[in-house]
Point group: C2
Chain length 335, copies 2
């Protein structure tokens, strides 16, 4: 493999000079710069990452903390982040964590071991030590899709409560009055979206009946959505619409409704949240709240990069705009 020394020898210069050219430093005669650049081009020389890492004390790696369940929205988001980070010459390193103390612990251990330059958290870790370590170690961190009021970390996300409220308002505006809520445990956004649901009902002067109309399933998966919706249906109360905290949950709900011999939206309207890839291609298409995926991913990547480079950055939470996407899974209630 061709090294900086080879280039130096070929150019009749010292490695230092080559290094200066490569790193765009000044103090190199233009003609020499040109010679070296040509040589680099010809030989296909690329600096060795490990060597640079060592001397620069940087790994050129950002850690992605993701839940073990890594859902579809998160997967799509990751793709965007990865693409963008690549343009900065940054790698990405996965840290999958389960909803268990030991898993968080072992993730923290790995995080300490891997010298990442920054961290993007797609997952809310429970363990305080996690955040403490990040702060103490001075590792730039970004909370993407959630927030922690009590911390100094930058965060980027939509206004969960408000967008959930708008979702339910859409249902209300269609004439629905008996609206159920399907959410899951583990992530704050599930709580916030449920709060938005409650708020929308209250604003409309409709009583909130958590016992009857709200279900929290164990996970944000279609499987959980199906089970949650079955539970709701088995409670055997009147309902004309259901708001699911994520599209995946909504897909499962639609499935349960279908299994019960009912139709969406004729019998029950279904509304989701996230606007993942397939939502537009379901039959019927899923009405949902779109999170600006690309903007979210690109901003996350840009932000962590700025943080790593110690550029001045506004540390206030970034609230991204959401959009109501109305498709065919919602309609006026029967009668």
């Amino acid at each position: 493999m061709v090294s900086i020394k080879d280039i130096a020898r070929l150019a009749g210069m010292s490695p230092s000079t080559v290094s200066r050219v490569i790193n765009q430093k000044k103090y190199v005669k233009p003609e020499i710069r040109k010679i070296i650049l040509d040589l680099v081009e010809q030989t296909g020389y690329v600096p060795n990452r490990a060597a640079r890492s060592m001397v620069l004390q940087r790994s050129f790696t950002v850690g992605i903390i993701a839940p073990d369940t890594f859902n579809m929205f998160q997967r799509q988001l990751f793709s965007v982040i990865e693409h963008r980070l690549e343009t900065f010459g940054y790698h990405t390193l996965f840290f999958f964590v389960k909803f268990e103390p030991e898993s968080e612990e072992s993730c923290l251990a790995r995080l300490k071991a891997e010298k990442v330059d920054g961290v993007i958290m797609l997952h809310e870790v429970k363990d305080h030590h996690f955040y403490d370590f990040l702060e103490a170690a001075g590792i730039p961190a970004l909370l993407a899709t959630f927030d922690r009021k009590d911390s100094n970390f930058c965060s980027i996300h939509v206004d969960e409560e408000k967008s959930a409220q708008e979702a339910v308002q859409h249902l209300l505006s269609l004439g629905h009055r008996q609206i159920d809520m399907l959410s899951a445990e583990g992530f704050t956004f599930g709580l916030k979206r449920t709060d938005g649901y409650r708020q929308a009902l209250r604003n409309a002067g409709i009583g909130v009946d958590d016992e009857k109309r709200v279900v929290f399933t164990p996970a944000f998966t279609p499987a959980s959505g199906r089970l949650g919706m079955k539970t709701l249906l088995e409670r055997n109360h009147e309902l004309s619409a259901v708001f699911a905290a994520t599209d995946e949950l909504a897909i499962g709900a639609m499935r349960a409704i279908w299994e019960a011999g009912l139709r969406v939206p004729q019998d029950i309207s279904v509304m989701g949240f996230d606007d993942i890839d397939i939502s537009a291609y379901l039959s019927p298409g899923l009405t949902t709240v779109r999170q600006p995926l690309v903007e979210l991913g690109e901003s996350s990547a840009n932000l962590i990069h700025s943080l790593i480079c110690e550029e001045a950055v506004d540390r206030a939470p970034i609230i991204l705009p959401h959009t109501l996407v109305i498709r065919e899974s919602t309609a006026e209630p029967k009668k």
Copy 2:
């Protein structure tokens, strides 16, 4: 950050001894080994990756070549691979490539730059140089989900033709005789699955009519599936079933059928391929051919690791078993 020297000093030993303990080498007195291990534990010492990389001339990284379009099956597969590789202390590095010569070229350039220890290809690159480089550089590579007869690379995949044949046989056994095929360009598996379709029809003594019954769309996405199915429907011939080369395509097809005011499976049966996450949760559930995702991912990770470690490995293509998963999107034809 605590280094090997610190441990050595604390233990009153030399760095070499510490290194021997860490790397499980022999020739260290058990009591000294214990002292050092304890120290490592206490201080939370972890060897610096960059430094190890440099001296070992290994990056502890495997490159994942994935298409820019990174579909749902591939994303799920990646998750499995990543999890497994993690247990080996390996990182994963993304190389997204588009279906354009320049993109392949720039990917190759990056591949040369990043000193990956191995490569898992989830994407068939057209450019010969790609494979030539890998061979010339002696970088272990694994073709996952496809194969190249003309190469020496290890590969792992299902028997595409045979499984597609079985899929169509299922349709035939239900009584269908007018079966269309929806595929896409860019990947060999799209061709092979189409061949399987043709073969199954021929075996059943049914004429193959590519002009009329087969559509190749630009991509394996729901969007393409929808468009492809529209094309098929607009051709206005009799059809009672459609076989889509992937589940994503099938989802789009179901959507197009729904948009046309027809029902699945009452009017048209739909069959997919892959068995991605959501397929079981569609309404109706998608009948499909399951690729053994977990086995595929774990074997891929294990195999590339063995290759990297220069363990003896059977280089014959690994053919994984597929399974027919029958759900509700297929039924007997009308009348």
